[in-house]
C-alpha cells in the first residue's frame, strides 16, 4: 500500500515515468543462479590461504608470541603479528559509521600488547592450503597473563573497574578529562528547564532498560584476497559496503599511498553496517608481501564472524518522561550507556540524538556514554544505536499513554514533530512525514481489526533515523544503440543498482532497460562513501540524475548538428530531440554520434546535505504462551515515510528486512558470555536469528512525503524500519500479559520469570 502526499509529484509537476515502477534488478539473475562472484568466490592463480590465531581469553596481556615452529612448516609461506604493522598515532577516519581512530583499528586487526576479547586476532599464517594454515596457526605459542574481564557496561563505568586501555581518557567535546577510565566519551544534549517540565507533568514514568549485544547476522562471512604485487601495487578483493573506505583504511593502517591501492568490491551477501571496517584486508596484504607477492585469501567461518566482527552495542538506558493530563509531553530525560566493546566507537551519538527525536519537547536532557568492555568492538548496525534507544523511549511513551487513558497512536500524534519543530538535540526539522505516518498507521485496517483470544495483545511504536548524505560519484557513456553504461562505486546491498539506474533513466527520459549499471573498483570511478546510512539511493541516485542531465545537455548539441538547428532551440522529451518542427530520436543521435564529434561521456559527483529524516510507525499483534514464554508474532504492519519510493518493491524489502532483524533482536538474539568472557553461542544454531517460520507476512505501507532536499524527493529508507520493532513487540507483550519487559531479548525464560513474578506480587 502507498499513501502519497498530494502536494507534489515531480519538481515540474509531471508524473514520473520510471520512478515508482517495479522493474527487475540487473543483478538478480546472476544471484539466483549462483553466478554472482562473492568474496570467497575469488580465486587467483597461485593463491595462498590464510588463517588467524585468535585469543582464547577475553582479557589478557600478551607476554610473548613464538611463531618459529609455524614458520618452518613445509607449505607455510608467511607469518605476521602486530609487530609487522606500522606503529600509528591517533588517525581519525570516517568509515561511514562515524569517526574511528585507526590506531585502535590497527590493534583490533592484530592484538598489540593485550587481547581484549575472546576471538581477538593475534597472528596470521599464509600457506598452500587452508588446512595447512590452520595447522600452522595451532603451532604458534602465546604466553598470556590473564586479566579479569569487564562485561557489564555499568560495571565498566565504576571508578574501581578493571581498565582496558591505560591511556584512555574520557573525551567531552574537545577536552580530555583526567583519570584512568573505560568511558571513552560523554555526550550531552540539554534544552529548556527540566525541573519545571517535570513539575508541570501530571504523570511521570521513569524506567530502566537493558539490551544485549547483538550481531548484524549477514549470511556471507567476511572474505578478502590481498595481492601485494612485485611492482608494489596492491589489489584487494573483498566483500565490503565501501571499497573506498577499505582503501583509505589500508592506506592509513599500512602507511601505503592511496595511489598504490586498488580495492575491488565483490558482490556482498549482507552487511547491515558490519562490513565497513577492515578485519582481514590488511593482514592478507601483509601476508602476500611476505609470501613472495602471491595472493592470499582469508575467509572467516561463522564462529570468527560472531566472535570477532562488529556486533552492535548492548546498553543500559534510563528514561524519565512526563506528560500533562491532556496528553502533552512536558519533559524528557535519558541516561544512556552503550557498550563499545574493546575500542571506542559505540553508536551512542546516534542513539542520543534519536531517542526523543520523534517528539516535540521543550525541556529535555540526554546524557550518553561510550563505554569500553571486553567484547569485540561495536560496528555499525542498521540505524546504529536507535533500536536500543527506541526500546526505552517508546516503552515509556506507551506507558504514559496507558496511564493517561489515551490511545497510544493518538498520544504520539499529539506530540509528534512536524516541519519547523526543533529536534531534541537542537536542529529544526525541514519537511518530514511523521504525522502522515502515524495517521496512516492509525487508519490501517490492522489497527482497527479486533484481536480476540487470551494472551494476545497489540503494540505500537514509532521510530526515527536521521539518514546520511555522504559523497557519491558516477560516470556514464552513451552507446551507439542509445543505451547508457552507468559506472558507480556504491556496493549494491539492497537493490541500489536498480534504484540508481531508474533515476538516471528518469532524468534522461529513457527506458530503465536502456541503462546498464555496474559497480566498479576504486580505480574506475570517482570517490564514493560507503553504502550505509541509508544514503545510496539518495546520494548516488542524485549523482546519476546529474550525469543524466549532463548527457542530455550534451546530446542536445549533437542533435542540433544533425537537425541543423541552433542548440539553444532544441527541446527534449520522451527520448526525442526537436526544433522548429523537425525531430530526431535519441537512439538515432547515438547511432550517428560520429557525425557530431567525439563519443559522449559524462561524470558527476555530489555531496548533498539535505538528506531528510525518516520516520516509521509499526503495529504488531502477538500471542504469548504462558506455559513456555514463547512469543508468536501474529500480524505485523510497518508504516514508513519513504519520501519518494524509487522502486517500491525494494523499499518494501527494506521494511521486511528491518522488521525481521528487529524481531530477532526483540525476542531471541543475544551474545551469551560466561563469567570469564567466553562467547558461548558463536554459531547460528545457538545465536538464534529468526527464520521464515518465526515471522508472519509483514504488511507494509509506504507514505510518500517528498524530501525537499532531493530532486525526486528521496529519503533514505533502509535503516528506520529496524528502530520500532523491539518496542512495538514489548508493548504488545504488555497488552497480552500485563507485564512490561525492560530487557532485550524478551526470550521465553525472561517472560516466564516476569509472569511468575507478577503472579507472586
Amino acid at each position: 500500500m502507498t499513501v502519497k502526499d498530494k502536494t507534489k509529484e515531480t519538481a515540474s509537476g509531471q508524473a514520473y515515468k520510471v520512478i515508482g515502477t517495479r522493474p527487475l534488478r540487473p543483478d538478480g539473475v546472476d544471484k539466483v543462479t549462483g553466478k554472482a562472484i562473492y568474496g570467497a568466490d575469488v580465486q587467483l592463480p597461485n593463491t595462498l590461504h590464510g588463517a588467524m590465531l585468535r585469543s582464547p581469553h577475553a582479557h589478557a596481556r600478551i607476554v610473548s608470541i613464538d611463531t618459529s615452529e609455524a614458520e618452518v612448516m613445509p607449505g607455510v609461506k608467511a607469518v605476521v603479528t602486530a609487530a609487522d604493522l606500522p606503529d600509528l598515532d591517533d588517525i581519525y577516519a570516517d568509515l561511514g559509521e562515524g569517526i574511528v581512530n585507526l590506531r585502535y583499528s590497527s590493534w583490533k586487526v592484530l592484538a598489540h600488547d593485550k587481547v581484549l576479547y575472546h576471538g581477538h586476532a593475534i597472528a596470521a599464517v599464509a600457506a598452500t592450503s587452508k588446512t595447512l594454515a590452520e595447522e600452522a596457526v595451532a603451532r604458534i605459542k602465546v604466553e598470556y597473563e590473564v586479566l579479569p574481564p569487564v562485561l557489564d557496561v555499568l560495571e565498566a563505568m565504576k571508578d574501581d573497574a578493571v581498565i582496558l586501555h591505560e591511556g584512555l581518557r574520557t573525551r567531552e567535546l574537545g577536552e580530555k578529562l583526567e583519570g584512568r577510565t573505560n568511558v571513552a566519551s560523554h555526550i550531552q544534549h540539554q534544552r529548556g528547564d527540566l525541573e519545571a517540565g517535570f513539575a508541570a507533568a501530571d504523570v511521570i514514568v521513569e524506567r530502566e532498560f537493558n539490551t544485549s549485544t547483538v550481531h548484524q547476522g549477514y549470511i556471507e562471512p567476511q572474505s578478502a584476497t590481498g595481492l601485494y604485487n612485485d611492482d608494489d601495487r596492491i589489489t584487494v578483493w573483498c566483500s565490503t559496503q565501501g571499497a573506498f573506505g577499505i582503501r583509505g583504511q589500508l592506506s592509513s593502517m599500512l602507511q601505503i599511498p592511496i595511489a598504490r591501492i586498488t580495492v575491488i568490491p565483490t558482490e556482498i551477501g549482507g552487511g547491515f553496517g558490519g562490513k565497513l571496517d577492515v578485519y582481514l584486508e590488511p593482514v592478507a596484504v601483509m601476508l602476500s608481501q611476505r609470501a613472495g607477492n602471491r595472493p592470499v585469501k582469508m575467509t572467516m567461518n561463522r564462529t570468527e564472524v560472531l566472535q570477532a566482527t562488529g556486533p552492535t552495542s548492548g546498553s543500559y538506558i534510563r528514561v524519565k518522561m512526563g506528560a500533562t493530563r491532556d496528553g502533552k509531553l512536558t519533559a524528557a530525560e535519558a541516561f544512556m550507556a552503550y557498550d563499545a566493546g574493546a575500542f571506542p566507537g559505540s553508536p551512542i551519538g546516534a542513539g542520543s540524538s534519536g531517542i526523543f527525536a520523534p517528539y516535540r519537547l521543550d525541556n529535555v536532557r540526554i546524557d550518553g556514554y561510550d563505554v569500553l568492555g571486553n567484547k569485540p568492538k561495536a560496528s555499525a548496525y542498521r540505524a546504529p544505536g536507535s533500536t536500543n534507544a527506541a526500546f526505552a523511549s517508546e516503552s515509556v511513551v506507551d506507558e504514559l499513554a496507558e496511564k493517561l487513558g489515551i490511545d497510544p497512536l493518538e498520544f504520539r500524534l499529539r506530540n509528534a514533530v512536524t516541519e519547523g519543530d526543533r529536534r531534541a538535540d537542537g536542529p529544526i526539522y525541514d519537511r518530514i512525514g511523521f504525522i502522515e505516518t502515524l495517521t496512516a498507521a492509525a487508519s490501517h485496517p490492522h489497527y482497527e481489526a479486533p484481536l480476540d483470544g487470551k494472551q494476545r495483545g497489540r503494540g505500537v511504536a514509532a521510530g526515527f533515523w536521521g539518514n546520511w548524505g555522504g559523497k557519491s560519484s558516477v560516470s556514464a557513456s552513451l552507446n551507439p544503440d542509445g543505451s547508457v553504461n552507468l559506472v558507480e562505486g556504491s556496493p549494491d546491498i539492497g537493490g541500489s543498482r536498480a534504484s540508481i539506474a531508474m533515476q538516471l533513466a528518469e532524468a534522461m527520459e529513457i527506458p530503465y532497460e536502456s541503462v546498464r549499471p555496474q559497480v566498479v573498483d576504486t580505480d574506475s570511478v570517482g570517490f564514493n562513501d560507503n553504502t550505509g546510512g541509508s544514503r545510496t539511493t539518495f546520494g548516488t541516485g542524485w549523482a546519476a540524475i546529474e550525469v543524466g542531465r549532463k548527457l542530455i545537455a550534451e546530446l542536445k548539441g549533437r542533435a542540433a548538428i544533425l537537425l541543423e538547428a541552433d542548440a539553444d532551440n532544441v527541446g527534449y522529451g520522451d527520448g526525442v530531440f526537436s526544433s522548429n518542427g523537425a525531430s530526431i530520436d535519441l537512439t538515432e543521435v547515438a547511432d550517428r554520434i560520429d557525425e557530431t564529434g567525439s563519443p559522449v561521456v559524462a561524470s558527476a559527483s555530489v555531496h548533498p546535505t539535505g538528506f531528510g529524516a525518516a520516520f516509521a510507525a509499526h503495529v504488531v499483534d502477538v500471542e504469548v504462551d504462558p506455559e513456555t514464554g514463547k512469543v508468536e508474532i501474529l500480524r505485523y504492519t510497518a508504516v514508513q515515510d519513504a519520501g519518494k519510493a524509487i522502486h517500491p518493491s525494494y523499499v518494501e524489502g527494506q521494511l521486511h528486512g528491518g522488521v525481521a532483524q528487529g524481531i530477532g533482536w526483540a525476542l531471541n538474539e543475544e551474545y551469551v558470555y560466561d563469567d570469564e568472557g567466553h562467547l558461548l553461542n558463536s554459531s547460528l544454531l545457538d545465536y538464534r536469528m529468526p527464520t521464515a517460520l518465526d515471522l508472519p507476512l509483514i504488511d507494509t505501507v509506504l507514505v510518500e512525503v517528498p524530501n525537499p532536499g532531493h530532486p525526486y524527493g528521496v529519503r533514505g529508507v533502509g535503516e528506520v524500519p529496524i528502530v520500532p520493532p523491539a518496542a512495538a513487540v514489548a508493548n504488545a507483550i504488555y497488552r497480552a500479559t500485563g507485564v512490561r519487559l525492560q530487557s532485550l531479548p524478551m526470550a521465553p525464560g525472561k517472560i516466564l520469570d516476569a509472569l511468575w513474578a507478577a503472579d507472586e506480587s
Binding site: E97, G271, G274, P347, S379, A383, E719
Partner: protein, 87 residues
C-alpha cells in the same frame, strides 16, 4: 547575526549561556568574534578549522563537512552534534 547553540558541556565557557549570537560571513568569522567574548570556546569545538573528530556541525538544519570556511547568513543557526552516518 548568526545564532550559535552552545553544547551543554562547554556552556561553562559562556557563563551558562545556551544560545549566543555573533556576526560573521563564515563560521570562522562567527567563532573569531565569539572567541573574543568567550576565550577557549573555539578550541573546544574546532580542531584545524573543522569540528573535533566525532563532532558534526549543523548549519540551518543541514550537517556540513566544510568546517569553519562555511558561509553563514545573518539568520543562520549553528549546532554541534555527534557525528554519525549509519550502517
Amino acid at each position: 547575526m548568526a545564532t550559535v547553540w552552545i553544547p551543554p558541556l562547554v556552556q561553562t565557557l559562556t557563563g551558562g549561556e545556551q544560545i549566543v549570537e555573533a556576526s560573521g560571513q563564515t563560521v570562522r568569522e562567527v567563532f573569531d568574534n565569539l572567541e573574543a567574548r568567550y576565550p577557549g570556546l573555539r578550541a573546544r569545538l574546532f580542531q584545524n578549522g573543522r569540528p573535533h573528530p566525532g563532532v558534526a556541525m549543523s548549519v540551518d538544519g543541514l550537517v556540513h563537512s566544510r568546517g569553519a570556511a562555511l558561509a553563514v547568513g545573518a539568520d543562520s543557526e549553528i549546532h554541534f552534534l555527534p557525528a554519525m552516518s549509519g550502517g
